[in-house]
């Protein structure tokens, strides 16, 4: 420290500061910041979930309808994708439903069904039939819940939906996902035993199997049924 600024250095070190705090602003901004993060996370999970569900629906012909997303009033028919599957999109564009051609006989009827199902889903008038969990190389890839819905005309529709808590990135991609379905269809993987877990307040018994893809990726697939 050169001598000519010693005075100011000493003076500034002795200046008493009055701290300023604003509890109201702190709380208000906290809510705003966290609210934005929450919304972003929700959107991110939804986008990831519908991609998974749509891919599954097309690739394995699951026999019913796949849908994810919430707060949807209306659905619109988007058309067919390259695989010939019908695409329905919610009004807010948060949910995409992909149905194989043989599942749609009347587009307008299906669209109405989707809206009714969405309503039932928001009221949680549904029954969880099955839970599937896929882990790749130790990372939770996705959770799929299969729900049973009963429409007002008595029809029963089983839905595959992106389960809550799907935290990992969707890493497999379409090509390896197709391979994974082929491998799984070809035969049982290495039996890793069973375990029990509570899902939505019910005890589910899970059977776990281990598979390997051609590039060495380890896939652990668990399927749980209510006890």
């Amino acid at each position: 420290m050169s001598k000519n600024i010693e005075n100011i250095d000493r003076y500034l070190k002795g200046v008493v500061l009055r701290e300023y705090e604003s509890h109201q602003h702190r709380q208000q901004l906290r809510r705003e910041v966290l609210g934005k993060i929450e919304r972003r996370q929700t959107m991110s999970v939804r986008k990831r979930a519908w991609k998974v569900a749509a891919l599954l629906a097309v690739l394995i012909g699951i026999g019913a309808i796949s849908v994810v997303g919430v707060n949807i009033g209306r659905y619109y028919y988007y058309g067919k994708n390259d695989d010939g599957a019908h695409i329905f999109i919610s009004e807010d564009r948060e949910s995409v439903v992909t149905l194989s051609d043989d599942e749609v006989t009347d587009v307008e009827q299906t669209r109405g069904d989707l809206e009714e199902i969405e309503l039932l889903r928001q009221q949680d008038k549904r029954e969880l039939l099955k839970v599937e969990e896929t882990m790749t190389d130790g990372t939770l890839e996705m959770i799929v819940h299969v729900y049973k819905y009963e429409l007002s005309d008595g029809r029963r529709i089983d839905m595959r939906e992106g389960g809550e808590g799907t935290g990992g990135a969707f890493a497999l991609g379409k090509a390896r996902m197709e391979e994974w379905f082929r491998v799984r269809k070809a035969g049982p993987g290495e039996d890793l035993g069973t375990y029990e877990e509570v899902v939505r307040d019910r005890v589910f018994s899970f059977k776990r199997e281990k598979y390997f893809l051609s590039d060495g990726t380890e896939v652990i697939w668990s399927v749980g049924w209510p006890k």
Binding site: S2, N4, I5, N7, I8, D9, Y11, L12, K13, V15, V16, L17, R18, E19, Y20, E21, S22, H25, R26, L29, R30, E32, V33, L34, K36, I37, E38, Q41, G167
Partner: protein, 199 residues
């Protein structure tokens, strides 16, 4: 929940992460960690901006901008080679810089008689006796170029060491030391002229 996430991150990376890095990483996944990060730095950033502007309303507005911007770009943070604390201070410093730029434009407009009184009155200036001393210093600081003012506030009122100031201002050590020295010399002259310091 947040603690679990933090533990997972630690295990998977196998590195010695500091608390901020763990919180930032976890904050991308859950709001609890984001809340902890916010709580940890809110007072520091509000205080820093307040000492830069000496205006409560402005300090709150700019602090809002800092946190909203920081959390919006949190995903990009990991690529920056500065500690999170320094990154937040850097954003805050930029906010303050932009504020003073806007004020310059306001001053030009305020040359018109009708606006003069309105624009020269801060919205919520601290007037307590405890802050009178700082008010004098702050008035003198306002006469310095912003680059000098920033390093002086960071060094003396935020207690930052030179290395931290370098991270915050993105300047080399020699530059920061030089700015600090020149700024102090000029500040001393101003305070001597005003009779605050002996000549």
């Amino acid at each position: 929940m947040a603690d679990d996430a933090v533990e997972c991150q630690l295990e998977s990376n196998g590195e010695m992460w500091d608390e901020d890095q763990m919180l930032v990483s976890a904050a991308l996944q859950n709001t609890e960690a984001a809340g902890r990060l916010y709580d940890k730095y809110y007072s520091d950033i509000l205080g820093y901006i307040y000492r830069c502007t000496f205006d409560r309303t402005v300090a709150e507005d700019l602090t809002s901008n800092v946190f909203l911007s920081a959390f919006r770009h949190l995903g990009q943070y990991r690529w920056r080679q500065v500690p999170f604390r320094a990154w937040l201070y850097r954003i805050a410093t930029n906010e303050v810089r932009m504020y003073w730029r806007r004020q310059k434009r306001v001053k030009i407009i305020s040359l018109q008689p009708d606006n003069e009184e309105h624009n020269s009155a801060p919205s919520a200036v601290d007037s307590t006796a405890a802050s009178e001393e700082y008010r004098l210093v702050h008035k003198a600081l306002l006469e310095l170029p912003l680059k000098y003012r920033t390093v002086i506030i960071l060094r003396y009122f935020e207690g930052k060491v030179i290395a931290e100031i370098c991270e915050i201002t993105n300047r080399k050590e020699g530059t920061v030391k030089s700015q600090l020295h020149r700024g102090l010399a000029r500040l001393q002259d101003i305070l001597v002229q005003r009779g605050v310091l002996p000549g």
